[in-house]
Amino acid sequence: MNAPDPKPLPGVGAGLPHESAHLHVTGRATYVDDIAVPAGTLHAALGLSSVAHGRIRVLDLSAVRAAPGVRDVIVAADIPGINDCGPVKHDDPILCAGEILFHGQPLFAVAADSHDAARRAARLARVEVEPLPAILTAAAAAEAESWVLPPVEVSRGDTPAALAEAPHRLRGEIQLGGQEHFYLEGQIACAIPGEDHTLRLLTSTQHPTEMQHMVAHALGWRVHQVIAECRRMGGGFGGKESQSAQIACIAAVLAVRSGKAVKLRLDRDDDMRITGKRHDFHIEYEAGFDDRGQILGLRLLLASRCGFSTDLSGPVNDRAIFHADNAYYLDAVDILSLRGLTHTVSNTAFRGFGGPQGMFAIESVIDDIARHLGLDALAVRQVNFYGDNAGDSRNLTHYGMKVEDNVIGPLVAQLASSSDYAARRAAIDAFNATSPIIKKGLALTPVKFGISFTATFYNQAGALVHVYNDGTVLVSHGGTEMGQGLYTKIRQIVAQEFGLPVEDVRLSATDTSRVPNTSATAASSGSDLNGKAAQAACQAIRGRIAGFVAERLGVSQDAVLFAAGQVSAPGFDAPFAAVVADAYRARVQLWDAGFYKTPKIHYDPVTMQGRPFYYFSYGASVSEVAIDTLTGESKVLRVDILHDVGRSINPALDIGQIEGGFIQGMGWLTTEELVYASDGRLATHAPSTYKIPAVSDLPRDFRVALFDNENVEDSIHRSKAVGEPPLMLAFSVFFALRDAVAAALGPGARPRLDAPATPEAILKALNGGAL
């Protein structure tokens, strides 16, 4: 742990409001659906399958074509280029090509004069389908050996021997549900045809470059014919990384066919039926451990439901493997990862990207061990933590990366103290002893999360910085704004480099014609990558301005300083704008591109060994909950969080990510239940049936603090990534619920509680696993 910088930097380090906050609150922030469209714009809607698996016998679209206002109807054969929008493998048809692969799959698309007309027409198709047997769950896929990708096994040590020799052994299994992103702004794209076979695409996406590529492929075009642009999304959470491509491609094909702008905005129910979600997992384990609960050997099965196509399931499941240690040293370990192909939506990126599922598995193991041994789960967690000094033998991960920045020990100790863990544990035990109906539970869970894309080539970014000759600055970069505050942080970083107030720096929409070959804004990497790229561009420009001033004054370049809106040197002090105006007339280049690639990282995707992560982010939380043993209802009473964001660029935004991530994770593990009917139909396809946390779910007592730390790696201003890691802080809610259930069942109980812990799941657990 390093002491924080005593002098917070102007710009960087300040808790400034989101750069669009004043637009958000007034309704003036424009999202894709708010942007004025050209006259004659058509609106699209999709016709969806109503079986999970089958072959189309008849697709009669005559009534669709004849419906009022309809201008065009397309099927797979009408796609001029490749009928695929898969980000990794080519198994993701834009429109169904004959074999229906999931309930809700788009079969055709309609363009009409209005959104309403298109939606009405899309329901008029006559479809005859020869049904085929459908595989719907991860377990069924495993049994049928139905894979999107082959199984992956990662081993270290002699696990069978470690298990055989361990003083204690346990087996367990648990179901971990998926999660709908429920970005408030649904999927949308607007494709505007331009001159000479070009297209401008307004898209709500985390990955403009991939949208550009997919649209070009669908049209049979080359990439430079398409410009993809995104100013902001109304939420992404991973759901607009690859899943926005199908929407963009359909809008583009219809636009090029009609010569008109075409907007495709999915109705919420269609969005939930069509787009992929967080992978649900079936988890099994066998653990061997000593009397203190230290794990000596672990065999882990992580079987996921990937859905009908590969999408990002490879790296998602890889990340589950990488994070199956969470913060714990696993000496002898054998992990088998199964990637099940099922006839359901193609599951995709979602905040944490498989990491949460792997971490949930090991937390379940630890919780079971503690209950088996009759120990406090916190003590068992602590004896399993990675060693925290370089010479420690317990600091090498199962994928061969040395943990060099470990702060989990002191962080958890600080939280246990600040949250009064021990005293509250005793108070809760006392409460439970006298309260037969309402039972309380408590849990403290840690988070260690690896930062970098596991696909190493993705760890690059570009930025374009313009200093205009009036001294104002416009920045473009490859990252996208989905609410996380990336634009705000970039603005602070750029303002800092030039010594300007943030008001003098604006961000332009992310646009593939300004910065090319961008990576997805994902893996929590947005500020790390784009911040460094923007900084590099600024430093190049600043260097030239400093050189210009230094030459005039006959001083060294290092003597020229940029601060408080002024450029100064010994005997010289002038406003930035004036210096810039002079520099312009002296023909100094006042704009530049910056580029950044993350150093040190490498790994072999075949052996799964190496250093996939630049560094780790850490955190921990304590949750206190209560359950009603008559109904299974629950309530979160108090939450304490301590989280490591390195040296924060913007503590207000970082705390926002921590709180929001925590609540979203809590939703995943409590109220958010995806229910599929026996025919593969998603029964929970709207907010009326799929329940994300609402305001009453906010813990009444919610204490969030940042852990004093500095990134040991040379990240942007020594900050750390914050997008994903806080989601896993919500494990403490789940394990506190399990603690409460166990309290109701009595000493030694290891209740089977599946996630999400809905009232029904809790009542079931209280009742021994059945109702």
Partner: protein, 496 residues
């Protein structure tokens, strides 16, 4: 009756609207027709609040401002009202020219309460309504209730809730109520709305006789009250509900009267008003009233609509049935009354005859020794549809059950009384043994469905659990007697 355009107050002037289908939603009007895009569509079913707008009406001579979901309100229902959207906020109180934000907007900025910002205009409007309706900063519970219909996926709500006290710390601004009231008076002088658009009629009678006549004349027309269900037929099922008779302009239908004969709630009373009256009449309604749908849905929806709709999962009916409510039905000049439980014949089938409409509900005064409770159980506390909603009214005298009315929602195809359980309980001593035995009767009495909300087995266990909870709350052998041992999660709230 002569037809006329729809008239409403919007952006400081009276607007006329003609030529649109009566089922065009307020949200479609805002976004597509007048390109006021601050109001967002998040779900088009009244469940996320991104489309929240505020409606102004003159009630008892005062301007009443309430948040509703624009996505499921039909445009003709704006007739005679004032519409406020997020674009109006920074122009209120004369602040528009100064470029300042409304206090709730500024507080949202200062508390970092927006991230992606898509839900934010809806939150701003819910908070604007809260702000206008409370001169002083209300309790956290009231703040939470006011936001129960707004979903945010980014922030986790803490900064939004914390923005409210900050808004109150700023100089107070307000809508120019007199100007709006003057406009509403002008609108009230217009004749009752008869509107035809896209071949469909929207009739908005203003008196009961007019309504009765209109209903008789057009028995196939759809009665429309708060739009919180019929709205979804249009936005989700893309159904054409046909000609509409709107109940919202009939003032007599909104009447609420409490007297020695009990409580009468007119079918057109909003759920907000109806629950205010119900909780005053019987405080045990308080929690269910708060958890029923969301505030915008309660503002728009009516108790008559909830009851007449006949959904097996409507949350008002179990409690009303347990309290012995009667439903009053009118056809032409004929009035009849039925015990509410007899109104429900089968799944979504009621005793309502052609040409008939629900006039209101009457609840008899409860006896002094009545133990009444109504509870819902759902996955989420706010705005969720019940897995099980149960209501119990036991009259206990001398330790024995002298009267028993029990009803459940979510347990059968209609809201249904637990008659066998009631019969079992009657005259028996009020004891744990009785409750255990009664739970077995209850378990045999219903065969609930399994669906996405809950399994059949869960519903049955919860029904029994609620009976047990009733016993724990009302047992007469409570040794401590001070309720120190909690029997419900809500009991912990006080200790926080």
């Amino acid at each position: 009756m002569s037809e006329r355009p729809i008239h409403f107050h919007f952006r400081g002037a009276i607007r006329q609207l003609d030529g649109v289908a009566p089922t065009r939603t307020v949200l479609q009007y805002l976004r597509e027709d007048v390109h006021a895009c601050g109001t967002k569509e998040g779900c088009a079913e009244g469940d996320c609040g991104a489309c929240t707008v505020v409606l102004g009406e003159k009630v008892d001579g005062q301007l009443r401002l309430r948040a509703v979901n624009a996505c499921i309100q039909f445009v003709p229902s704006l007739d005679g009202k004032a519409l406020f959207t997020v674009e109006d906020l920074d122009g209120l109180g004369g602040l528009g020219l100064t470029g300042l934000l409304h206090p709730v907007q500024q507080a949202l900025v200062d508390r970092h309460a927006s991230q992606c910002g898509f839900c934010t205009p809806g939150f701003a409007m819910s908070l604007f309504a809260l702000y206008e309706n409370h001169a002083e900063c209300p309790s956290r519970r009231v703040i939470g209730d006011s936001l129960s219909g707004n979903l945010c996926r980014c922030t986790g709500y803490r900064p939004i809730v914390d923005a409210v006290p900050l808004a109150y710390a700023q100089p107070r601004v307000s809508v120019d109520r007199d100007a709006v009231l003057a406009a509403l008076d002008e609108l009230a002088a217009l004749p009752a709305l008869e509107y035809v658009g896209a071949g469909r009629r929207f009739s908005a009678p203003r008196t009961l006789p007019e309504l009765a006549a209109a209903r008789l004349a057009a028995p196939d027309a759809r009665l429309l009250a708060g739009c919180t269900d019929v709205g979804l037929w249009v936005t989700k099922q893309l159904k054409d509900p046909g000609d509409l008779i709107y109940l919202g302009a009939v003032e007599e239908l909104k009447a609420i009267r409490a007297d020695a004969a009990g409580l009468f709630i007119g079918a057109g009373a909003s759920l907000t008003d109806a629950f205010d009256a119900l909780t005053a009449f019987e405080p045990a309604w308080t929690e269910l009233a708060r958890r029923f749908a969301s505030l915008p849905v309660r503002n728009a929806g009516t108790l008559g609509g909830n009851v007449a709709n006949g959904s097996p999962i409507g949350d008002s009916m179990p409690g009303l049935i347990a309290m012995g409510a009667e439903i009053l039905l009118q056809r032409g000049e004929r009035l009849r009354r039925l015990p509410l439980e007899d109104f429900y014949l089968a799944y979504q089938k009621t005793a309502l005859e052609a040409g008939e409409f629900v006039l209101g509900l009457h609840l008899p005064p409860p006896p002094a020794d009545r133990h009444f409770r109504t509870w819902k159980v759902s996955k989420r506390e706010d705005q969720d549809i019940s897995a099980v909603c149960g209501a119990f009214a036991l009259d206990i005298r001398d330790g024995h059950i002298q009267g028993a009315r029990i009803a459940f929602g979510g347990m059968a195809a209609t809201p249904l009384r637990a008659r066998a359980t009631e019969a079992f309980l009657l005259t028996r001593p009020w004891s744990q043994a009785t409750v255990i035995a009664a739970a077995q009767v209850l378990a045999r009495e219903y065969t609930p469905l399994s669906d996405m909300r809950a399994s059949s087995a869960y519903r049955s266990r919860v029904a029994a659990g609620l009976l047990q909870r009733l016993w724990l709350e009302h047992r007469e052998d409570d040794e401590s007697g001070d309720g120190a041992v909690p029997v419900r999660l809500a009991d912990l709230e006080d200790t926080l």
